[in-house]
């Protein structure tokens, strides 16, 4: 993160941002910075506040308190608007227009015209792999193609900061990989990216920095390795699946420093060999071991460690 919060070169600075919708607290004093030319992940379950945060950044939500500055300019100011590109979670396209016509429309909304607009449309079609479908209406495209066009419409003006709000929702694995490639290409060109998702693997694969949101707050912030180290040090994650009855397995897990849920006992161990001792203990306790998993902790483990529940619950 950065210390020079209001410096013009800092793509995004969020300070104590709060927003409430009726009785629902959507953002509870969120603060974060995003460095230039990085991919910043906002990770959290549905309802954590990711989309409200994104909509506050693009000026579509007026916060109750706190500030958002983009390259030193207040969010929703004309200067801030031109520097960002927003790809909303919904397919915000004209279904009866073709790919080219959609890109033309959103390019015009961003102030492009003439030759620069034509060049931008050509680049977008190429970047999204839709050059051969430029004359097809949106409603005739596959789900993955629509997602790619949705991305292209958000970056047609080549903004310095791109906000991608769950860009892979509802697409097949092949299309998802294609979208990853598009995001990587943007990064390689120096674009700063904010990427919201509730898929751990996407955040791990694409993001340099990650903020984990839960219940409207940032509960952890850093690189993937920093987050894992903060939560687990250099320890390993051991999961032992048991078929025995719940009270016995839970009691056994607790007595060995772990926790058991749905028949899976989880432990944090310093060395891989420690799992042998756990298995011996289970046998002595008369428990039936079905499966054993040993792994380095990941973001999923971090989220579980911090919140006590799975990310997708």
């Amino acid at each position: 993160m950065t210390d020079s919060a209001h410096a013009p070169g800092i793509p995004l600075h969020v300070e104590s941002l709060s927003k409430r919708f009726g009785d629902v607290i959507a953002l509870a004093g969120i603060s974060l910075d995003v460095r230039a030319r990085t991919c910043f992940g906002l990770l959290g379950p549905n309802g954590a506040g990711k989309s409200t945060l994104i909509r506050s950044i693009v000026g579509r939500v007026r916060p109750d308190s706190g500030t958002v500055t983009l390259y030193g300019e207040a969010a929703n100011s004309p200067a801030a608007r031109t520097s960002i590109g927003w790809v909303p979670q919904d397919l915000a396209l004209y279904p009866l227009l073709t790919c080219r016509e959609n890109l033309h429309a959103f390019g015009r909304y961003q102030g492009l015209a003439g030759g620069p607009l034509r060049d931008a449309i050509a680049w977008c079609l190429e970047w999204a792999g839709l050059a051969d479908r430029s004359g097809s209406t949106v409603k005739t495209l596959s789900g993955g193609m629509r997602r790619r066009l949705n991305l292209a419409a958000g970056v047609i003006h080549r903004p310095r900061l791109v906000l991608l709000d769950e860009p892979t929702v509802g697409v097949d694995p092949q299309s998802r990989n294609r979208i990853f490639d598009m995001v990587s290409e943007l990064r390689a060109q120096g674009t700063t990216i904010i990427y919201t998702t509730h898929y751990m693997e996407e955040a791990e694969r694409l993001c340099d920095y990650i903020a984990i949101l839960d219940h409207a707050r940032v509960i952890a912030l850093g690189t993937k390795d920093e987050l894992i180290t903060q939560s687990f040090g250099g320890r390993y994650d051991a999961a032992i699946q048991l078929s025995s009855a719940a009270p016995a397995t839970e009691e056994w897990a607790r007595s060995n420093g772990g926790a058991c849920k749905d028949g899976i006992a989880r432990f944090s161990i310093a060395r891989p060999l420690e799992i042998a001792a756990l298995l011996e203990s289970a046998e002595r306790a008369g428990l039936d071991v079905v499966d054993v998993i040993l792994r380095r902790p990941n973001l999923e483990s971090v989220f579980l460690h911090l919140t006590g529940r799975e990310l997708r619950e």
Binding site: F21, T82, D90
Partner: protein
């Protein structure tokens, strides 16, 4: 199983306000409008017909006839123009000013009591008979017939002594023992009467227009539509056109709601597009769409129904531009007001059908009671139809459209401002 299906249907209907309104509110609203128009709630029965009466005879008999006409409950008699601030005591109508008033649509018909009526009130008998002239505007096909029929009735009921006297006078001329000559005179009169009846039967209603239609001679003269090749087509083109224009504008403006639901609206507003720019763009689209729709409608009227479009281009363009502007604003308000597309569809269907019924798109306003006519003035339909009628029916100059254009454009501006204020809810959450 079947009860569950029925229950599900009613549950869904109860929660779909739009469908609920269309199912229960719209039919009741329509029933009420038709009941009001056709007298279901008006105990006085048939609405009164406005008619100008010009006394050219200035006799005691003609004065009694005017009084009789004024007392006739089905007629609303005007003997002089309505007082104005500039002219608080206007002079009584003359034949010329009455014709001008009918041309301008101030009244659908004018009865001219002929000079000499007091002397020879009855239409038949020896000698020349003075003929009543009813000037009328054939865009209201009922008024002239009602005025003509009631004139005959009022002559009978208000002048029975005069008629008896006239009858005796004529009989005195032909009586005296009924000589062979007298019998011949009576036979000749009967022959003439039989010939008239036969001629009337052959010519349909045309005989009436030649003055042989009752106790007094009456001649109908169409002072507005006589030269028209296709009377009433412009009226129907405007009436139906405006109704569908309202539907079109409502549907087109509804794309705002779709864009809001899809997120495209948010995306536009996060770019360089302001809400005012966005609404202005939508408004222009709706206006152009409505304009071209009316152009198409009138071109079709010209090509198929001989509507005299090309001789009225300036008035047509002005009225079409103003009407399209008003309905486009109406569509924008509906879109800004509604929370969802189904809700917008329900509200617009309800409003448009009611406005069209009250405003004269479904049946002419001159058929309506006075109260309904006044309520109709709160609709675009009424003002648009009045304007098109001025252009195509009365051949009035473009300058005469100032009231209609002012109302349509003025209310369009007000509605656009209202739409802009309502659209603030989309700007930021």
């Amino acid at each position: 199983m079947i009860p569950t299906i029925v229950r599900n249907g009613f549950l869904a209907l109860r929660r779909d306000r739009g469908a609920f309104i269309l199912t229960f509110v719209l039919p009741v609203a329509f029933f009420s409008i038709f009941a009001l128009v056709f007298g279901g709630m008006d105990t006085s029965g048939t609405p009164r017909v406005s008619v100008i009466v010009v006394d050219q005879d200035h006799s005691q008999v003609s004065a009694r006839l005017v009084r009789g006409l004024e007392e006739e409950p089905s007629l609303k008699v005007m003997t002089q123009p309505a007082p104005q601030d500039s002219n608080p005591h206007p002079a009584p109508f003359t034949a010329v000013s009455a014709e001008s008033a009918v041309r301008q649509g101030d009244a659908p018909a004018a009865i001219l009591i002929p000079e000499g009526f007091g002397e020879h009130p009855i239409a038949f008998g020896p000698g020349s008979r003075p003929t009543f002239v009813i000037l009328h505007d054939s865009s209201d096909p009922i008024a002239a017939q009602v005025a003509s029929g009631l004139l005959q009735k009022v002559v009978m009921t208000s002048l029975p002594d005069i008629l008896a006297f006239s009858g005796a006078k004529y009989l005195g001329r032909v009586s005296g023992g009924l000589t062979s000559e007298q019998r011949k005179l009576i036979a000749d009169d009967l022959t003439r009467l039989r010939n008239y009846v036969q001629r009337r039967d052959r010519q349909g209603g045309q005989a009436a227009a030649h003055g042989m239609n009752g106790i007094v001679a009456v001649k109908l003269r169409d002072v507005v539509g006589a030269s028209k090749r296709s009377p009433m087509i412009a009226f129907y083109a405007a009436g139906i056109g405006v109704m569908f224009l309202l539907f079109t504008a409502s549907g087109a403006a509804g794309s705002l709601i779709e864009e809001h639901e899809s997120g495209a609206l948010d995306r536009m507003l996060s770019a360089r597009v302001s809400m005012t720019t966005l609404l202005a763009g939508k408004m222009l689209y709706c206006w152009l769409l409505a304009f071209f729709q009316l152009v198409l409608m009138f071109l079709w009227g010209w090509a198929v129904f001989h509507l005299e479009l090309f001789s009225h281009i300036p008035g047509f363009v002005v009225m079409t531009a103003a009407t399209a502007f008003a309905v486009a604003s109406f569509g924008m308000v509906l879109a800004s007001l509604s929370r969802s597309r189904p809700q917008q569809a329900a509200i617009s269907t309800l409003l448009i059908l009611v406005m069209s019924a009250v405003g004269g798109s479904m049946f002419p306003r001159f058929l309506m009671p006075e109260l309904m006519k006044k309520i109709g003035l709160f609709t675009f339909n009424a003002w648009a139809i009045d304007g098109y009628t001025k252009v195509f029916w009365r051949d009035e100059p473009v300058t005469s459209l100032v009231p209609q254009v002012s109302v349509l454009v003025g209310s369009g501006i007000v509605l656009f401002v209202v739409a802009r204020l309502l659209a603030r809810r989309w700007e930021t959450a």
